[in-house]
């Protein structure tokens, strides 16, 4: 149920929740949302719901300590110091809890990592930092803080919104147009996830089934691009569904992806990919460390720290650390060496991004380092990697089977297509298309019972 693209969520949880939410008078809607969110999380994590509740209480009271020190017209130095100490304590505690669970997941068992922990801990850290910085304007009530941390559209995988971006003060927009707007976003997101990402996921599964040592070099590249598209639509689709739900409930839209594949450099790519996470690292790690307004050596160190942390945050394998390190290195090189050239020469930047990013995704995708080596051997056969029982014609079969998804995916990567959509959003044909996308998604979800690999057969 915790996946938005499941029949259980779409036809059981969501309708019941929406009816209750909108039937209730406006002042009680926060409560409906809070209770709904707790139920939503508890269904997915019947045990770890306690972790979420405990962390919510903890962070609320840690924040309250700061608010109490805020009293008075003018803050004296001791107050400022105490407040800062409170913030540091809270953040250290949050980070420690995240680290402990990550450690358990790596060294004991993967199932010991509570769902969405990395996301809601990051929200909690930002809550503490924003409280210290005075970016939360009025003292939140407990249920408002709890709502911010546990809200079901975001609790599993973000977007990592800030407290002051939401209508937690009760000022939300309840209009049919707003609901419709959110619904459209949700349907598009659902379509991306089910019709593109889940289909392309089968391609990657096929490659693993064949074994990387037996795929041809063209298929290896095809697979890398396919995985890049799949990851994009999986996450963009998810983010659109999450933000769409938020908009339906009366909140503002939170942008998480801004056509990253149209970027001209890696650093630009990561300003447009998973925007809320990038901004989080910028605001709470990179800038506090000194940002880019410092010596070259320090800048390199700052970037390295940010990207190593990004890598560790994303997963529990060594490959994620390598992935973060490679991106950090590329971004440092761009800053110091060739960033300007990429900007100046037209198209060069685009080619660079489109060639390099899929390779970094391959590192991201393959947790087994030996297998990772084999895959790179197939991508670049001249650096060693002859392959075993390679079928040189495999690319024909796979490009035939997957070209539809590639074409649709590539079209959606082009910013102009989105602009066209926004321009004609009220066109009856678009309305009809959205309806078709929705029911087509339901068709796939019905026949695969929610699991893309169930649809595979043998």
């Amino acid at each position: 149920m915790v996946s938005f693209s499941s029949l259980e969520f779409l036809f059981r949880f969501l309708p019941v929740f929406l009816i209750l939410y909108f039937v209730m008078p406006v002042k009680h809607r926060d409560m409906v949302l809070l209770i709904g969110s707790i139920i939503f999380y508890a269904v997915g994590e019947p045990v770890f719901i306690l972790v979420l509740i405990a962390l919510t209480l903890l962070n609320y009271f840690m924040g309250t300590r700061m608010w109490k020190l805020n009293e008075g017209f003018h803050l004296s130095d001791w107050q400022k110091k105490r407040r800062k100490r409170c913030m540091i304590e809270a953040v250290v505690l949050d980070v420690a809890i995240l680290a402990v669970f990550k450690w358990l997941a790596v060294f004991v068992d993967n199932s010991l990592l509570p769902m969405g922990l990395s996301f809601y801990i990051f929200k909690m850290i930002s809550y503490q930092a924003d409280t210290l910085r005075g970016e939360i304007w009025s003292r939140p009530k407990f249920y408002q803080t709890a709502l911010y941390f546990t809200m079901f559209p975001q609790v599993v995988s973000g977007p990592i919104m800030r407290y002051n971006e939401g209508g937690f003060d009760g000022k939300r927009i309840y209009k049919p147009e707003q609901f419709e707007e959110g619904l459209k976003l949700f349907v598009i997101g659902l379509g991306m996830k089910v019709l593109l990402a889940d289909r392309l996921a089968i391609l990657w599964n096929d490659l693993q089934m064949i074994g990387f040592q037996s795929i041809s070099t063209p298929l290896a590249w095809f697979g890398a691009f396919g995985y890049s598209l799949r990851l994009y639509f999986d996450f963009w689709g998810y983010s659109l569904m999450a933000s769409g739900l938020m908009v339906m409930l009366g909140f503002d839209f939170i942008e998480n992806f801004d056509h990253p594949y149209a970027s001209k450099s890696i650093s630009e790519f990561y300003r447009r990919w998973h925007v809320t996470l990038g901004n989080w690292f910028r605001d709470y790690v990179y800038i506090p460390l000194g940002g880019s307004r410092c010596r070259k050596g320090r800048l390199i160190l700052n970037l390295a720290i940010v990207w190593l942390l990004t890598g560790i945050w994303h997963g529990n394998g060594l490959n994620y650390v390598i992935w973060g390190a490679v991106l950090g290195l590329l971004i440092i090189l761009e800053k110091l060496l060739y960033g300007k050239i990429l900007k100046k020469v037209p198209v060069l930047g685009n080619i660079y991004v489109l060639a390099v990013i899929p390779l970094t995704w391959v590192i991201f995708a393959i947790t087994d380092l030996k297998q990772l080596g084999i895959y790179f051997g197939r991508l670049f056969p001249f650096i060693g990697g002859a392959g075993i029982a390679v079928n040189q014609q495999d690319i024909i079969k796979y490009s035939r089977n997957y070209s539809v998804y590639f074409i649709a995916g590539i079209l959606l990567c082009i910013p102009a297509v989105s602009e066209f959509y926004s321009k004609h959003i009220n066109n009856p044909l678009i309305v009809l298309a959205l309806t078709v996308i929705f029911w087509l998604s339901i068709y796939f979800l019905s026949s695969s019972a929610g699991n893309p690999f169930m649809y595979l057969n043998f």
């Binding site: 259980e8 049919p176 037996s214 495999d394």
Partner: protein, 450 residues
């Protein structure tokens, strides 16, 4: 009206959703009766979508349901629940028909045209079998399946019994209880025959092989088919357990044949029929340079003769276009969990008999279903090795070691516990590309001289 203007997508989704729900409810007892769904987690309208995969479309609801023909022509249209009875009545008849065709078959090559006609019938029955199966699946919910189930079971059984009763010599009896003696009579006889050949293999050339096969041909007709030892129980059926109703007598008997090592040209007149496992064999070995393949992911025994393979056409068409001397078939994993061992076996027998009729000169190699890894087997209620072994035991009883041979590739891809070796697979079901060579190797060590 205002609402439609303000939120057209919402209104459209809501109204189509209601419409679909009404269709689904309307067809609940008719066209959608065979669709399983879990009302706790799934909306009722999802049956409308799952049914599309079975080629049942919503508009069929509005076509007069009393008419036997429903939109898709006589074949796919019939056999829906309201016709269950007629199906059941038909079955025994057709069963005896198939027995008949098997008999004529044994007397030697019959007229090809006649065979074709019969194969058509067999085909049709296959269809019905499949349908019956569907109907029974639905029975899980309605609870009325008991009768249907038993009846089919009886039918299949009766057919089998008839078969064996007619032709049963003394030799098949010992195999019913293979544990009794170390070397039962019939088996012993056969081993003696093949021992001669064993000496020949490898050391002596083609002449010797020819001689050997001549001596073999001189022998009596091959083994008779074995009858099941028991029926599948209702519990087994309801829990999707493939019952081991034959025991390993067939496997043991089939294993008594001494196969020869052959070179690649042996496969020049071979046809492979199979699911994704054979797709792997085709794509990742050089067998396809010699043999032809009618393989498709998710192929089942129920579709084996109807499926249109790109370019080549259906299996009967392929067999018409070229004379094959070897037909290899590995099917059965996709239909685990569908129907009982009897249902599966009924259809499998039909397909094998049809292949025999279409290509009387060909040796048919029915291959044991390749097992899955321990990880998969221990965690899956349907796709596990106990179910696979039960069905393999059933398949093996068809081997006569004369025209029909049972071979089991599990010998070379499984560990001592009989599970697919973990290092050979990523998804616990398919061989990694590189390991398909083991299958090719296995096949070339299991040739039969002509």
């Amino acid at each position: 009206m205002k609402l439609i203007k303000k939120c057209p997508v919402f209104v459209l989704l809501l109204s189509t959703g209601l419409l679909f729900t009404m269709i689904a409810l309307g067809g609940k007892n008719t066209i959608y009766a065979s669709q399983e769904y879990d009302p706790v987690t799934t909306p009722v309208l999802s049956v409308m979508f799952t049914a599309v995969n079975d080629e049942i479309y919503p508009w069929q609801l509005f076509i007069n349901q009393n008419a036997p023909v429903m939109a898709k022509g006589p074949e796919t249209g019939q056999g829906r629940p309201d016709e269950t009875e007629s199906d059941e009545q038909k079955e025994p008849q057709e069963n005896s028909e198939s027995t008949g065709s098997y008999d004529t078959d044994k007397t030697g090559g019959t007229d090809r045209k006649e065979n074709r006609g019969e194969s058509g019938k067999a085909n049709e029955q296959g269809e019905n079998n499949g349908k019956n199966d569907d109907i029974k699946d639905q029975g899980i919910n309605s609870g009325e399946s008991g009768e249907t189930n038993e009846q089919t079971g009886e039918n299949a059984d009766a057919g089998m019994a008839e078969n064996t009763a007619k032709d049963n010599g003394t030799e098949s009896e010992p195999f019913k209880e293979p544990d009794e003696g170390e070397e039962p009579e019939g088996q012993q006889g056969n081993v003696k025959g093949s021992e001669v050949k064993e000496g020949d293999v490898g050391t002596i050339g083609a002449d010797a092989l020819l001689n050997a096969s001549k001596t073999y041909k001189k022998e009596e007709a091959g083994f008779e088919r074995l009858a099941p030892l028991r029926e599948s129980t209702r519990e087994e059926y309801l829990n999707h357990i493939s019952a081991d109703i034959y025991g390993d007598a067939g496997v043991i008997r089939a294993a008594s044949y001494e196969f020869q090592t052959v070179d690649e040209s042996y496969f020049d007149d071979a046809l492979f029929i199979g699911d994704s496992r054979f797709v792997g064999l085709k794509d990742y070995t050089d067998l396809a340079e010699h043999a032809d393949f009618c393989c498709e992911t998710s192929l089942t025994i129920y579709k084996a003769l109807e499926e249109k393979f790109s370019k080549a056409g259906t299996v009967p068409e392929v067999l018409e276009n070229k004379d094959y001397r070897k037909i290899y078939m590995m099917l059965g994993i996709n239909e685990l969990g569908r129907g009982t061992t009897e249902d599966f076996m009924g259809q499998y027998t039909e397909v094998v008999d049809t292949l025999r009729e279409l290509e009387p000169e060909a040796k048919i190699f029915i291959m044991g279903i390749m097992r899955v890894s321990e990880k998969k087997s221990s965690s899956d209620a349907i796709f596990n090795n106990s179910n696979i072994n039960a069905r393999n035991n059933a398949i093996a009883t068809l081997a006569d070691n004369k025209n029909i041979f049972y071979i089991d590739v599990n010998e070379v891809v499984c560990d001592e516990e009989g599970n697919l070796k973990e290092e050979y697979t990523f998804d616990q079901i398919h061989l990694l590309g590189a390991y398909n060579d083991l299958v090719k190797q296995f096949l070339s060590e299991h040739g039969v001289a002509e």
